[in-house]
Amino acid sequence: MMINELLNPWMLIALTAMAIPLIIEWLFRRRRKQIPFPAMRYLMNPKKRRRVRIQDLILLLIRTVVPGVLVIALARPLLRPEAGRGTDQALRHVVIVLDGTYSMGQSIGQTTAFEVGKTMAQDIVRGLPKDTLVSLIYLGNRPEVLKDRAADRDSVHDAISRIKVSDMSGRMADAVEAVEKMLAADGSKGSAEVYLISDLQRSTWSATPEDQRDPKASLARLARQHGMFVLDTGGANAFNAYLTRFEPKEKVTAVGMENRYEVDIEAKNMPANGKLWLTLFADEDKAATTSPAGQKPGKLITRELIAADLPGGRATIVLPHTFVEPGEHLLRVELEGDGLATDNQRYYLANVPANVEVLIIDPKHDAAPTADPLVSNSGQLRNAIAPRTPPGFDRLSPFAVTVRRSDEVLQLNLERFAVVVMANVGNLSDALVSRLEQYVGDGGNVMIFVGDAVTPYEYNTKLLKSGKGLLPCELEPALGLMPADALSKMKAAPDKAAELLHGLAYAASDPHPAVANVRQMTRQPAPPSISRRMPFKLHGKTGELGRPVVYLSNKQPLACERTFGQGKVLLVGTSADASWNYLVYTSEYLVLVQELMRWFVGEPDRGVNLQIGQSIQQPVLLSSQYLLLRRPDFTKVRLAPLPQGNLWRVTYDQTDRQGIYEVDTSAEVMSRRRFAVNLVATEGDLTRVEPEAFQRELDRAGVHYWGPDKAIRRAVESRHSIKEYAWLFLWGVLGLLAIETLLATRFGRRRI
């Protein structure tokens, strides 16, 4: 202990009081009475008189020292704190790093690790003396300096109280680097103190194959010059279950069609008797009024899960749901029963139309109610696209088909159709071609079936346009017999069956995504049923044109596709009806058509269902100067649409919170205005670094470890506060007086 300051140094003048006992002693001697006494010989023993003299000196010394000690006590001696006091040029600098990664949301008792951490941070600030500069770094996905050398402690308190745990994971190595950078800016102006508050999750602290940095090594480096402290919020490898995926199995859906929502769950450290509850909510954002179809928003299904339901800590749960109303629906799944709630929910925004509209352009279409659809070019196709749902069954297909003749198409608004199918359409007008090109260029999809009415020359000229048109590939004249003729010939020459009728085949490896599931769904291939087709020429002068989708059993492409503008075009080299093949009568045809339709439609909700860190991007249909985006944390951001080619688009990158982001505008401006951003569960494993080994490493590095039970404020105060030791000296005075009394009594000087 080194006392290096006195609060009342002027009190030292009173040290002259130490002369009082000497003066009293002198006065005492002056006022002695004279006593003649004969028996002096008994008082003249030199040894004993020396003893008495020494006793007198001891007592005089104590009596002289007591006023001195009292004066020092009144002068209020102060002790230099352990922590560096900074220098004359720079005040003391304390940096607080608060781990805000989403694992800090784990429960610890009645609170969370993050709240514990905030309390620790508040206690640190409270324990610091006034002349301290405080910096606050918050570690979310990346370190963020919230306060830089703030002298106003109230503002630091305020900043700490306002911060919330992040929905993102982060790396402590990033935070330590930020600290290093900040302290490097201080230069050599004294030493600083750094307090890192964390739940010590391995995912945050340990090096990984992707990130080899070890924060402990950086801490050791800093510890050579600065005071380094790691504060542990606690948490004991809590059981945590988290959701990693929530999406419908069928990306294309419609009202009345059952969709199966798949939820992937992972669980770490689940006890044998642990339980989880998975609940599906729908449309919680809507008022709780009963819809005309009778579906209440809110909780739909709850499933209870035990450890056995998650073998290996993983499971995929399927939650079926059928929408009864068209529109955009917000689905949410929530998991309960573990220690960390942050990663226990996921959102899905589903745009559910009444129907997914498909237009079939069929020159032979007869709109009369009594007309036989199978007579047209597209009867079987119509049934394949939109099969009739038997009563009492859920809808089988989301598609609804509209059939029009070629001349009627120009009056239609093609944008409402997800797919336009051309079924053996000949005599293409320029207007129709232009209209189709515009439609596909804007994102529409066209499926072209050939037939007798289709002439390769016309299509190659009007639709291929040397590779610049819609057509994916060059058509060649048709080959093969009509199906009836092929069958007859097959009976006559069975050995030539393979030449007469062909089945469907798909690429064994890397099949086209449009047909990736067909074989799995059909289980058995359809018998060869295609006798007549138009071959394709896939390579043109400008290079490869379309990409094959389906092959014939003779490995010749039957269907190929290409992208045109924002849309897709699929060319099928046979007829949509039974005029060129019997495929239309097979179940494979049904499956194939459905899969192709779905491929065309794609994932309409993909752009609105994102993960943290992914950008929100949406085209803006009408010009707008600014658009207001509401974030899940109730803050608002202004977005400015930016031109991108012919379109305007808004982009937002700061998706750092899970939840619903909503652009405050109308459907005319933006078709999709809500975006679901889900957490990336990279901190699902709440395994902490091994505490004892961690502490040993910190010790070796010269870094102090403070556990959850440490009295933070007191510890910081003891490091920083100038201690006053007047009380010690006052006790010293009392002690000396007690000693003086004891000695005086012992020496016979005090007579009670």
Partner: protein, 310 residues
């Protein structure tokens, strides 16, 4: 210290005398003397124990006439005594400056000593023993040889009255000349405050022992010397150039009493070893008590009670 020199009659305070009557001084050893009295002696003489009557012949000492027989028989008979050695009681009285101290007592130590000596001398004279006196300080100042007359007693008293207590205490150095002065075995009564070293005193006592004398040591002490009751800041001025001490007497009381006790034990031990009577007498004690205490103690030693206290 008394303002007026005590009247010689104070030495013969009637209260003291009446208490001392019947007490006899006894000696442990046969002391030669010519005094008629109660002491046994190997020699026969006038001061002898009554043996028989014989007819008076002119020239006999009329003091020895037995008047009772004459009253009864109308005849003059003289008492015949067995020959007793007459007791010579020699008082050695300290007249040093330290004896001139009256702290807690009514009398200075010297006044007390003188009173005590005169009383004891009177007693001795009454026993028809001889009394002598030596006054000493740093050396012998006055010596009166032992005589058994009352006139001598008066002389002694007068000597005591005329002396001034002054000078250093030198008990040991004074006993030597006393021993040389005493021609016959005597009872030596040393009256002093003994504020002196023990060793020379021991030499003196041994000298007396060697010469066959009996010694009674009367150690006079003032109550203040006994209790050292002084308090407060003081300057103790020593007598007989013994020094000056600035102190709070309370601080030194323990040491003083310890030293005094040691010194007294030395003297007592010395006296015990020589089979001498030792008595510490406080000047606050009544004289008759002091004398009675002394004589009773003396009688306890010899086993006889003198008829002077009948």
């Amino acid at each position: 210290m008394a303002d007026q020199p005590p009247d010689s009659r104070h030495y013969f305070d009637p209260a003291v005398i009446s208490q001392l009557k019947g007490l006899t001084v006894r000696t442990r050893r046969v002391v030669e003397g010519v005094m008629l009295g109660m002491h046994k002696s190997p020699f026969r003489g006038i001061s002898a124990e009554f043996a028989q009557h014989r007819s008076y012949v002119p020239g006999d000492d009329l003091r020895h006439l037995d008047w009772k027989v004459y009253a009864k028989s109308d005849r003059f008979y003289v008492k015949q005594f067995r020959q007793e050695t007459s007791l010579a009681c020699h008082f050695v009285v300290d007249t040093s400056e330290s004896m001139n101290y009256a702290g807690g007592g009514a009398l200075t130590k010297f006044d007390y000593a003188a009173t005590l000596t005169a009383s004891f001398a009177h007693l001795v004279i009454s026993q028809q023993d001889a009394i002598g006196l030596t006054l000493f300080a740093e050396n012998v100042r006055t010596t009166l040889s032992a005589k058994s007359t009352f006139g001598h007693l008066s002389n002694m008293i007068a000597t005591l009255e005329n002396v001034t207590a002054t000078g250093l205490t030198n008990v040991g150095g004074s006993l030597g000349p006393v021993a040389g002065y005493l021609k016959r075995r005597s009872l030596v009564v040393i009256v002093s405050d003994f504020l002196d070293d023990t060793e020379p005193f021991s030499f003196g006592l041994n000298r007396l022992r060697y010469d066959g004398h009996d010694v009674i040591v009367l150690h006079l002490a003032d109550p203040h010397e006994q209790s050292f009751p002084f308090t407060g800041p003081s300057i103790l001025e020593g007598h007989e150039k013994s020094g000056r001490l600035v102190c709070d007497p309370r601080d030194l009381r323990e040491i003083y009493l310890e030293e005094r006790k040691t010194h007294l034990e030395e003297i007592q031990s010395l006296c015990r070893g020589l089979h001498y009577d030792y008595q510490e007498i406080s000047t606050a004690e009544p004289l008759d008590v002091a004398l009675a205490t002394l004589l009773h103690a003396r009688e306890a030693l010899t086993g006889q009670r003198r008829t002077a206290f009948a």
